[in-house]
């Protein structure tokens, strides 16, 4: 009975996703609305889409699991994932939109005027995307296994297949409306059971057992806790701006101002959403503290309804949560696969294949690469695995964006050196952790949370190499800065015609 309901819910979400992929394009586009301006994507809609794509398996399952496992220190995960948008808002959102760049490699090429920097950025997008895909597949596996008792690879393979079919068939291609809808599905799938469970908890006499354990409520417990916590803060605060599938959504904003408004709305939506996993974690502490011993804390969200309610009520809520979790895996994975395949087909596979073939090949490569990595990983908590992708993003794209937007002195070599250096340092630490390498003492702490070291190193390398290379500051840096920082409403010649190499500029004669 329980399995049946769960399978039904997951099938429903999966077919709905596929159907939206196939028909949604038509449904969302049939209006022959005559006024173009009214078709603009408003900040609210776009913020829903960003949140929908952003809230992944880590947010849906992982945060509650970590809170259950390690207590208040883990609240930095949801806080960091939200506050990342604050930094994005203050430093990056509007200039990034004004730059006209669609992807991070585009931004690199625009700002430092170098194809080399573009290539490096492309590889990093693939790396970060793959690292981010792994926990999605992993989460899908354990969700399906918790719901139906299937082996974990089944869920992972299911999500990978659905995403691949969808992306290759041309559906799910960054349709704002669909992704916006996903946010509200995920929110409801967590919110409704949470309310029911809260009422049940009240009815149960509001027990608070296991909550008062010192190592759970007290912050900064355990070895190297201060370092680990600050490193986590750095990774999540600074990593958000370097996520490939989030950045492309800013292109949809009408101008820099609406990009800022969108970000504010995202902050509000994420703040609302992240209250819920915390609540699940606390409830799990009360009703399912045995999961800590068995090491299966990532399942807490799916198990809790049965523990509190039991019976058919528990079955329905579990099915609802399972469906929401699958929606999360599918939407985030699709966004990631689309981003990676776009970059792969544009920059890595090159001109050997035409656009569509390249894109399809790219999506196959991205999905299969992430699948292989998933099988190679050793039961890392889902939220931690996602946070490692943030650490790589923070050590590579964050310096590029911050320095690129706010410092005239950045050169192509500096950008490349910083991205490569930060990418190698953080990437190797992350991959080592993922395949199960561990070290004793400080080395272990640094491996587990590399960002506090790698982000400053990447920044320093980028600055130092740029200063040493200051003779090669990009020729059009002034023009680029005007474009980045001047509001669109200001009437000024932004130098729109900037001939590339083969279109020569006027000679001095």
């Amino acid at each position: 009975m329980r399995e049946l309901a769960a399978i039904l819910a997951v099938t429903l979400v999966t077919t709905a996703t596929l159907a939206v992929g196939v028909f949604g394009l038509r449904v969302s586009r049939t209006t022959s609305d005559f006024f173009v301006a009214s078709r603009r994507v408003g900040p609210f809609l776009n913020a829903s889409a960003i949140s929908g794509e952003y809230l992944s398996a880590a947010s849906f399952l992982g945060v509650a699991g970590l809170v259950l496992l390690r207590g208040v220190d883990m609240l930095w995960y949801p806080i960091g994932w939200t506050a990342g948008y604050l930094l994005l808002l203050v430093f990056v959102a509007a200039p990034l939109r004004r730059s006209g760049a669609y992807t991070l490699p585009d931004f690199a090429e625009f700002r430092v005027e170098s194809k080399g920097a573009r290539q490096v950025a492309s590889w990093l997008v693939c790396l970060i995307g793959a690292l981010y895909l792994v926990p999605q597949f992993q989460g899908a596996g354990l969700t399906l296994s918790a719901l139906t008792g299937s082996p974990t690879w089944v869920g992972a393979a299911l999500v990978a297949t659905v995403v691949l079919v969808n992306v290759v068939a041309g559906g799910m291609r960054s349709i704002t409306l669909v992704q916006a809808f996903q946010y509200w599905i995920k929110l409801c799938a967590l919110l409704v059971p949470a309310l029911v469970l809260w009422l049940a908890w009240r009815g149960d006499g509001s027990p608070t057992r296991h909550l008062h354990a010192a190592d759970w409520v007290e912050p900064l417990q355990g070895p190297h806790a201060t370092y680990l916590t600050y490193s986590l803060i750095i990774a999540t605060f600074l990593g958000t701006m370097g996520l490939p599938h989030v950045v492309v959504r800013f292109y949809t904003n009408h101008d820099g101002r609406s990009a800022r408004r969108t970000t504010v709305a995202v902050l509000a939506m994420l703040s609302l959403f992240y209250l819920l996993p915390t609540a699940y974690g606390a409830l799990g502490r009360i009703y399912a503290s045995d999961l800590v011993a068995s090491g299966r804390t990532d399942r807490v969200v799916l198990i809790i309804p049965d523990r509190i309610l039991g019976g058919s009520g528990g079955t329905v809520l579990t099915a609802l949560l399972g469906a929401g979790a699958f929606a999360a895996f599918l939407s985030t994975s699709s966004g990631l696969v689309v981003s990676i395949s776009g970059v792969l087909s544009q920059d890595v596979l090159g001109k050997r294949f035409d656009g569509v073939t390249g894109f399809r090949l790219g999506s196959v490569l991205a999905t299969s690469g992430a699948m292989l990595l998933t099988f190679g990983t050793q039961g890392l908590p889902v939220a931690h695995a996602v946070e490692l992708a943030f650490a790589v993003a923070a050590s590579t794209f964050c310096p590029l964006l911050l320095l690129g937007i706010w410092w005239r002195g950045l050169t192509a070599r500096g950008a490349i050196a910083g991205m490569v250096g930060g990418g190698i340092l953080s990437g190797s630490a992350v991959l080592a952790v993922m395949v199960g390498v561990s070290a004793p003492g400080w080395a272990g702490a640094v491996l587990a949370q590399p960002a506090l070291l790698t982000v400053p190193v990447a920044l320093a390398v980028m600055v130092a190499v740029s200063v040493a290379d200051r003779a090669r500051v990009p020729a059009h840096v002034g023009r680029a800065m005007v474009r980045l920082h001047l509001p669109e409403a200001v009437e000024v010649d932004r130098g729109s015609f900037e001939p590339s190499k083969d279109r020569p500029r006027a000679s001095a004669t």
Binding site: R29, T30, T31, S32, D33, F34, F35, V36, A37, R39, R40, V41, G100, A101, Y102, T103, D106, E109, F110, E113, R173, S174, I175, T176, Y251, T252, N253, H254, V338, S341, G342, Q346, G355, F359, A475, R483, D493, R494, S496, F497, E498, P499, S500, K501, R503, P504, R505, A506, S507, A508, T509
Partner: protein, 373 residues
């Protein structure tokens, strides 16, 4: 030479061959720079290669007045070569000067001779190439002369490129100014017909007409956003719809994600106008014009389709090739501008046949270096 040496991997020819390769390689390295014209930047990047080709201790590249860049020893001479340049610009001949003519006052100066050769574009001197040597051999003078001629050739090609760009820009300006007289006449008579029967509509149409002309004449810059271009098309179509009434149906399906894409200004308008004027106006039955803009990851795909009378594909091919006699407004120009902005794979795709309507597809990357509205 024994045969086995020919088969050796890494064998790169005789010493003479290799010298030739080196020279050609140096020349190739300069080509792309020189194709940007004679500027300080291009001169600075080339002067080193020029010095290597001539094998002289110091080489200067100048425009018609001052030194643009200097390679090698004795940089203090850079400000002393004014008279040399002047004479060369006046004569247009290669001349050899003694140290007297650019005396630096230093007795041990190693730059005893200067060979001044003109760089010309279409028989006008645009600059000079000055090679400084201890002694001027006839061979070196000859080499300097030939090198200057080669550089001049590259500069002429640069000029040609500039001419091509400015011709295209002039065409856009013409395209902007050239709201077809037929259209103006038709729009005004249509509006006139509404003045008595439906004054509000007439007023609305006049406003549309005013806004349309303003967009066409006023906007500066070579690029605009898809949103602005579509809005102008909307105005145009509402005027045409007023004229054609039920005979013209319009379907617009625009993915909101692509509204911000930068496109060359007036790159869709001519396609729509062609569709209405050549496709639908000639048709007796009511027709539909469909404009689709779809989001395709890093590209936007825009199609303009009419179910009108269609066209002979051969005539379209000629119009795209730039045949002036074709009466299709700017199809060739649009194609050329798209190609020059985004590369040859982004040209127009036209599908048509007599009686089968016309479908024009434009693909535009969301980001292309140097393309922004």
């Amino acid at each position: 030479m024994p045969r086995w040496r020919l088969l050796r991997p890494g064998y790169l020819g005789t010493e003479a061959d290799r010298a030739t390769f080196r020279t050609l390689h140096t020349a190739t390295q300069m080509t792309s720079e020189l194709r940007t014209g004679l500027t300080q930047a291009s001169a600075e990047r080339c002067v080193r290669h020029l010095a290597r080709l001539l094998g002289s201790p110091a080489v200067a590249v100048t425009d018609t007045a001052t030194t643009l860049s200097w390679h090698g020893r004795g940089q203090t001479h850079a400000s002393l070569v004014g008279p040399l340049i002047e004479q060369c610009v006046a004569d247009g001949d290669t001349t050899v000067h003694d140290h007297r003519d650019f005396a630096c006052g230093q007795p041990g100066c190693p730059l005893r001779r200067a060979i001044v050769t003109p760089l010309t574009v279409e028989d006008t001197v645009v600059g000079t190439l000055i090679a400084f040597t201890p002694t001027a051999s006839a061979g070196l003078v000859r080499a300097a002369d030939e090198l200057a001629r080669w550089v001049s050739g590259q500069l002429e090609l640069a000029e040609l490129d500039v001419a091509r760009t400015s011709r295209m820009e002039a065409e856009v300006r013409a395209l902007r100014a050239q709201i077809s007289p037929h259209f103006v006449y038709n729009a005004l008579t249509t509006i006139a017909s509404f003045v008595r029967t439906d004054p509000d509509r007439a007023r609305g149409l006049i406003m549309e007409f005013a806004d349309f002309t303003r967009h066409s004449f006023q906007r500066a810059g070579s690029y605009t956003t898809l949103e602005d271009e579509l809005r102008s098309i909307e105005r145009y179509l509402s005027l045409e719809q007023a004229r054609f009434g039920d005979r013209l149906a319009v379907v617009l399906r625009i993915a909101p994600e692509v509204l911000g894409v930068s496109i060359p200004v007036l790159s869709l308008q001519p396609l729509v106008e062609n569709g209405v004027r050549h496709g639908l106006a000639a048709k007796d039955a009511p027709g539909t014009l469909t404009i689709l803009a779809e989001d395709n990851d890093y590209e936007a795909v825009i199609t303009v389709e009419d179910d009108g009378v269609g066209e002979d594909p051969e005539r379209v091919r000629r119009a795209l090739a730039g045949d002036e006699s074709m009466d299709s407004i700017g199809l060739g120009n649009v194609d050329e501008r798209l190609r020059s902005a985004y590369g040859d794979e982004y040209g127009l795709v036209v599908e048509t046949a007599p009686g089968a309507g016309t479908k024009v597809t434009v693909r535009v990357p969301k980001y292309a270096a140097g393309v922004r509205a």
